[in-house]
Amino acid sequence: MDFLNALVAFVNFVGVPAIAYGSQLAIGALGVTLVYSVLRFSNFAHGDTMAFGTMITILVTWWLQSLGVSFGPLPTALLALPAGIAATMALMLFTDRTVYKFYRAQKAKPVVFVMVSLGVMFMMNGLVRFVIGPGDQRFADGERFLISARDFKAMTGLREGLAIKTTQGITVITAVIVVALLFWFLNKTRTGKSMRAYSDNEDLALLSGINPERVVMYTWLIVASLATIAGVLYGLDKSFKPFTYFQLLLPIFAAAIVGGLGSPIGAIAGGFIIAFSEVTITYAWKKVLTYVLPESLKPDGLVQLLSTDYKFAVSFTILVIVLLFKPTGLFKGKAV
């Protein structure tokens, strides 16, 4: 029984949050990796793209709520999501037309693109703060829990409860759907295949009649959807704050690089690796250990390896270790 309690405590405090957080990171990292493989630069504006998409979704959610529309037990934000995606797509295409296209025509070095994306990052960050303000916004509504800790305890008779928030369930389901759709698109459709061809070998792709502007356009459309979905899921699960989204850049990049920049599977694996390490290393293990260990070995302290504020340090250390030992990432990405 103690072992079961330990397991439930572990799943409740480590497993469930890490899976949800990992899915959010994975979708974010997919966006970074797509930009990297097709447009060949690290997009520093990705965090703020997520913030922009989420902001539009929140605004539409508020509007729907004011009309009295709701989605039953599910958060209203899911209804508003398509609007957020559409707005972000428009913004991405606009940015590409006005900013990135010029440098593409010039065949500028990747580092110039990175610099330009810094400028875009500033502008988007400013735009988001301008419209919605720098403060914290919560916009999750509907049913709060799929299973609450109390119900779980009553159901199983265990001392430890297992709570799964609705948002966590939605995150995982959405992530599975999004990833399946993305892989179907990349592997089965004509446009997806031309995107992969373009990313593998630009010259050959051009030679076989692939229109580069079309590939770039589709990439931005997909990146916009991925960024918005990742942002909305993160915002539903935790809360929305422009600065937090900017800071998400670090774990997202860590996930993409650990998995191998340019590799979609790597991005997903990287997201979960980063999420699980962050959560396990900053979790206080006392509760789990008291169940498993015999009385005499009971821990005195919290058995927390690092305080939660060091979660950046965790993703970063993994990043450095991977870069030192396997510079192309776990799933052979590409190095330009």
């Binding site: 670090l250 950046f312 330009v336």
Partner: protein
């Protein structure tokens, strides 16, 4: 127009902006000399940071986005060097903390030694992990009680180790040294990675440095801030009580309060200008020397430079350390100016990316350009807010006073800053990619 004339004219322009800020309150200027000197002082500090970044990016092409971390380390140096030691802190646990840190470092060294000495294989991994695990447990066993001991001392006022109680000006070179040390460690591991990876690596390290300063209360009091750090200039109140000073101020027709505030700020301006000029002179000499030419040769073509027998990685490490040290000095100067260390206020947008805007706008590769960029962009950073307010007031003049749109727009004017900085960066990159003062 020759380069010298252009440079002088642009500097003159910034000078006039600052003079206008002090003398007139038309448009967005405030007409306060205090505000003008405040802008000038932070502008000088920013110019020094930009000089450091220019050394790394303009000379060597290293993409460092961890400036915030080095600046913060410089600030930490001020606390460690100049604040008074907390009584009893060393006996309560200071020694233990140092021992624990040495243990931690030794663990890492041992792990690296195992990695280097043993044959690759499963055994090596197991031994390495065992060394790390044992080292970590021992480290925490010494570290935790010592930290608890130090943090228990008068937590409302101290709770940290304090410093050495040395003169605060010594903290400036010390800040440089601390940042240089950190840069050496970072450079050893991260240089040699591709430019994008170096960027991510430095971005992450800066966040970690800030996290350490926010959480390790024994070191920097964390988010409780260290206030009342010693100042190189006298306090305004003391000046106002000084009969001689008041009499002198009266001679110039100034009231004592205004005179004392201006006197202190001018003192800082002078000190900062001296440091800036010395560093600028050094950077200029370095640029013109064979060493500077070698750096630019490496930047422009690493392979060719390597073929000429230049050790690219070592030169990169060298210039990375030097540039970071300059940022550390600037950070120490900034903390001295504020006479407080507030780890919670370090924000990458302000301390990393804004410095990048300065370097790019000024002209990467040109030292004078960085200084110009530092002063000009800092002026804009402060003044964009009143400018934005002015702009929005003009635009919304037609709207009725009570309308929600107008109220929201006026409230949001404060956020124009980031938008404008991004716009400036994009415009410069697009239409004048070499900046206001291009590299010669």
């Amino acid at each position: 127009m020759s380069d010298t004339v252009k440079t002088s004219l642009l500097f003159l322009f910034v000078g006039v902006l600052i003079l206008l800020e002090g003398s007139t309150n038309a448009l967005f200027f405030s007409g306060s000399w205090n505000s003008a000197l405040l802008i000038l002082n932070m502008g000088l500090v920013s110019a020094i940071m930009a000089l450091g970044v220019n050394l790394q990016w303009g000379f060597a092409g290293l993409f460092n986005v961890g400036i915030m971390g080095f600046v913060a380390l410089g600030g930490l140096a001020v606390v460690l060097v100049s604040s008074a030691p907390t009584p009893g802190a060393w006996s309560q646990g200071g020694v233990g903390i140092i021992m624990a840190l040495v243990m931690g470092a030794m663990t890492l060294v041992a792990a690296i030694a195992v990695f280097r000495m043993m044959e690759p294989g499963k055994l090596r991994s197991v031994v390495m992990i065992a060394v790390l695990a044992v080292g970590f447990v021992v480290y925490r066993a010494i570290f935790d009680p010592s930290v608890a001991g130090v943090e228990a001392i008068d937590p409302a006022l101290a709770g940290n180790l304090g410093g050495l109680g040395l003169p605060v000006l010594l903290a400036w070179p010390a800040g440089g040294l601390l940042a240089a040390g950190a840069a050496w460690l970072i450079g050893k591991t991260a240089l040699g990675l591709r430019s994008d990876y170096l960027a991510i690596a430095t971005l992450g390290i800066a966040e970690i440095i800030i996290a350490v300063m926010k959480n390790e209360d024994w070191l920097s009091r964390g988010v409780k801030n260290v206030i009342g750090l010693p100042r190189p200039m006298p306090y305004e109140v003391d000046l106002q009580n000084d009969a001689e000073f008041v009499a002198k101020a009266a001679d110039y027709g100034l009231d004592p309060v205004l005179a004392s505030t201006l006197y202190v700020k001018l003192g800082y301006s002078l000190m900062f200008t001296v440091v800036l000029l010395v560093l600028l002179w050094m950077a200029q000499m370095a640029l013109k020397s064979p060493w500077g030419r070698m750096m630019r040769a490496i930047r422009d073509n690493e392979v060719a430079a390597e073929a000429m027998g230049k050790n690219v990685t070592r030169r990169h490490l060298q210039i990375f350390v030097l540039g970071s040290a300059i940022c550390g000095i600037a950070g120490a100067m900034m903390t001295t100016l504020d006479s407080q260390l507030t780890p919670g206020t370090y924000n990458p947008l302000r301390f990393t990316f804004l410095i990048w805007v300065m370097v790019i706008v000024g002209g990467s590769g040109n030292n004078f350009g960085s200084v110009l960029g530092g002063l000009l962009i800092w002026f804009l950073w402060i003044k964009v807010e009143p400018m934005g307010l002015l702009l929005i007031e003009t635009i919304t003049a037609g709207l009725s006073d009570g309308s929600a749109v107008k109220a929201h727009l006026l409230d949001s004017a404060a956020h124009m800053r980031l938008l404008t900085m991004g716009l400036i960066l994009l415009l410069v990159l697009r239409f004048s990619p070499r900046g206001l003062l291009p590299e010669r």
